[in-house]
């Protein structure tokens, strides 16, 4: 889907932003964004074509030990029942490799968050949906695109899985706050730089991304790809 140009106020500014005490509007150029997260079917096709990313071949440096842990059959391939579900248990490196193979890239965090803001449509309901997802224990994942899209025509940004972004951990402090001055995400100081203190859902997304490293995988962590318009 084409996400049109626009601006939004990021929840946090990137940590290299100079001395800005509060987040301000950021302009996002138009970009292409996959309408749904990448499915097991598509990722299977990618692995078939690029065997280096098969669970038995992937280089240890690119993932932790849970890479594609849900591909349990003898061939180490996706279960047929799961083909239309979002692929999870993939590291950032694998996600990036997949997108490159499609001549795409991972969306930036700002692009992803901008797509979520949906031009300001129905934010209250959106936030409630997100909180409900976070406060419900894991259930069997449904197929992608099971719920209506947002105003940009993008499906499943919330309520399905977490998604990798290209610059997932470039917003808050490094993991040890001793090196970070006041900018970090813990206890009270998390609220010092946020643009909307009432948006708990955003705190959760940013802190989730901050907890990741490129080789991490998760049962609720997948991705979708993006592409420049030019």
């Amino acid at each position: 889907m084409l996400v049109p140009e626009g601006s939004f106020t990021p929840f946090f500014l990137k940590k290299d932003t100079a001395n800005s005490s509060s987040a301000t509007a950021t302009v996002i150029n138009a970009f292409w964004l996959d309408a749904t997260p990448v499915t097991n079917r598509k990722f299977q096709a990618f692995v078939n074509k690029h065997p280096a990313w098969h669970p038995s071949n992937i280089r240890k440096i690119f993932t932790d030990s849970h890479y594609l842990a849900h591909w349990q059959n003898a061939q180490g391939s996706a279960d047929t029942a799961d083909l239309d579900k979002p692929v999870v248990n993939v590291s950032w490196f694998a996600a990036e490799a997949y997108c490159e193979a499609q001549d795409k890239r991972l969306p930036s965090t700002d692009e992803w968050e901008y797509a979520l803001t949906d031009n300001g449509r129905d934010q209250e309901n959106l936030q409630k949906q997100i909180i409900n997802w976070y406060s419900t224990p894991n259930q069997e994942l449904p197929a992608v695109g099971s719920k209506p899209p947002n105003g940009f025509g993008v499906f499943d940004l919330v309520g399905l899985i977490w998604e990798w972004t290209a610059d997932f951990n470039s917003y808050m402090a490094p993991p040890d706050s001793r090196n970070s001055g006041e900018k970090n995400l813990f206890c009270g100081s998390g609220s010092l730089n946020a643009s909307n203190l009432g948006d708990y859902a955003a705190f959760m997304r940013y802190s989730y991304r901050e907890s990741l490293k490129g080789n991490f995988t998760g049962r609720n962590l997948g991705f979708r790809c993006a592409k420049d318009t030019k």
Partner: protein, 480 residues
């Protein structure tokens, strides 16, 4: 020889055999000379007292789990927990111990988590060092420099939500000199919960961000659920035993006015401090993110209710627990109820009526008396004897067609002005109640009795103020 090796190794780990060496007392309390895995317990249990006299390396393994559980009857909630339950596991270590802390985030969890232990000296109390994605594990270590009872909690943004979902627990750092032996130690922790549905609304209730920010919890509970310490789950002790409670408040927002109904805390260590305790305390204030421990001897059998003495929380929102004490009664300490008697206040034993204070009209005729008497009756008498005069079976005798009113009017005047108490037979039925004396003036008594005698099939007598004056028992209090 062994000692030299230990010295050379500095703070490195040593073999268990070395703990038996007899080092100088000074060194024994600071040098790490053994290693152990911490025993962790779910509330209300507390790990055993620490009896070793030296510092140790203690390994703590704590697993974070997001689980659906019971918040109240028919109400479930997705708790985020340190160890599977709310509150989190109780951790017990000793001053000077070196703790190697492993925080494991279960792969099924959706959220990253971390831990801020208030017992830790260092930035974030371990929070930054322990941010852990689902399916991962973080390790950090700290030295327990200060003894005391401390809260630990998750500190991942949004911290209030992580705490509101149950991510808190207690860590006890015993002082070097140890803690005295008691018969029972219990772990109680209070927390406030913010559900989208109102208190009692059934089913799985999602977290309400709005109510959390407004600080308007639907539930305030001990140990993670309404009823977690009542009925069969009540704490138990025997008469004569000493009980120590470790009580923390996770919050995220409310402080607790912690009180045990019917007990006085013999000792309270305010705010978890190991300084000498306060003695003989009724209610102790425990801040959010704070703790206290208290000791008391249970002398009298019975059920003692633990509450947050901010009472609507106890009464309406769940902050209520029980301590059941078994054993023989000791009537010299507490007698129980000895008698139940009707209470008639001295002196002011008359019911002061409003009517007597005002300038009352005076009746000229019997018809006037009946008319004025009706108002007095309805104000003062109808509540018990009913407007129909029928009374209430077994409680209040009837005035309608009443044989009590068939003879002289004197007993009726005496009853109204002096009250009645004890056994009384009216129309063949026995009553055993109380009628207070009424502080009505002579005119009013005459009017109300005339109304009664001229209603509901009674004899039609007229009672005059002179009759009343003649037979009245108590003097009029508010004579005009």
């Amino acid at each position: 020889m062994k000692k030299i090796r230990l010295f050379a190794l500095g703070t490195a780990l040593c073999m268990a055999g070395l703990t038996q060496a007899a080092p100088a007392p000074k060194a024994s309390s600071t040098k790490i000379s053994s290693q152990e895995i911490a025993i962790l317990t779910d509330a209300p249990a507390v790990p055993p007292r620490i009896t070793r006299k030296h510092a140790a390396k203690v390994i703590v393994n704590l697993e974070v789990k997001e689980v659906e559980g019971r918040l109240a009857d028919g109400v479930s909630y997705t708790f985020w927990t340190f160890g599977g339950k709310v509150p989190g596991k109780f951790i017990r270590i000793r001053e000077g111990d070196e703790v190697e802390f492993h925080l494991n985030n279960h792969p099924d969890n959706k959220m990253p988590h971390n831990i801020d232990l208030h017992a830790v000296t260092g930035p974030g109390g371990g929070a930054a060092a322990s941010l852990t994605a689902p399916g991962h594990s973080s390790v950090f270590s700290f030295k327990a420099l200060n003894p005391g009872l401390y809260v630990y909690h998750c500190a991942t943004a949004p911290v209030a939500m992580h705490v509101a979902n149950g991510m808190y627990g207690l860590i006890l750092v015993e002082p070097k000199e140890g803690m005295s032996k008691v018969d029972h130690e219990f772990y109680v922790m209070q927390g406030d919960f913010y559900t989208q549905g109102k208190n009692g609304e059934q089913g799985l209730q999602p977290f309400s961000m709005t109510k959390a920010i407004e600080e308007e919890p639907e539930y305030v509970v001990f140990n993670g659920a309404a009823g977690s310490l009542t009925g069969d789950n009540a704490l138990k002790a025997k008469k004569g035993e000493t009980v120590r409670l470790f009580v923390g408040v996770g919050g995220p927002n409310l402080t607790s006015s912690f009180h045990v109904i019917g007990e006085i805390f013999d000792k309270v260590n305010h705010e978890g401090s190991t300084a000498s305790p306060a003695k003989n305390v009724q209610t102790t204030m425990i801040p959010a993110g704070g703790a206290a421990y208290m000791e008391f001897k249970v002398n009298v059998p019975g059920t003692y209710i633990m509450v947050d003495h901010s009472l609507t929380r106890a009464f309406n929102k769940g902050a209520l627990g029980m301590l059941k004490v078994s054993g023989d009664e000791d009537k010299t300490i507490y007698s129980g109820k000895m008698t139940d008697e009707v209470y008639l206040p001295e002196g002011s034993s008359m019911r002061n009526t409003v009517a007597s204070q005002a300038q009352a009209p005076t009746a000229k005729t019997k018809a006037d008396r009946v008319k004025l008497g009706e108002g007095i009756y309805n104000t003062n008498c109808a509540a018990c004897h009913q407007t129909s005069g029928a009374g209430v079976p077994q409680a209040f005798p009837p005035l309608a067609k009443s044989d009590y009113l068939s003879g002289s009017t004197a007993p009726a005047i005496k009853a109204v002005t002096g009250g009645l108490q004890g056994k009384l037979v009216v129309n063949g039925n026995e009553y055993n109640g109380v009628m207070p004396s009424w502080s009505l003036n002579d005119e009013e008594v005459a009017n109300v009795l005339t109304y009664i005698y001229n209603s509901w099939g009674n004899g039609g007598d007229e009672v005059t103020p002179e009759d009343v004056k003649k037979h009245r028992i108590n003097p009029v209090k508010h004579e005009d």
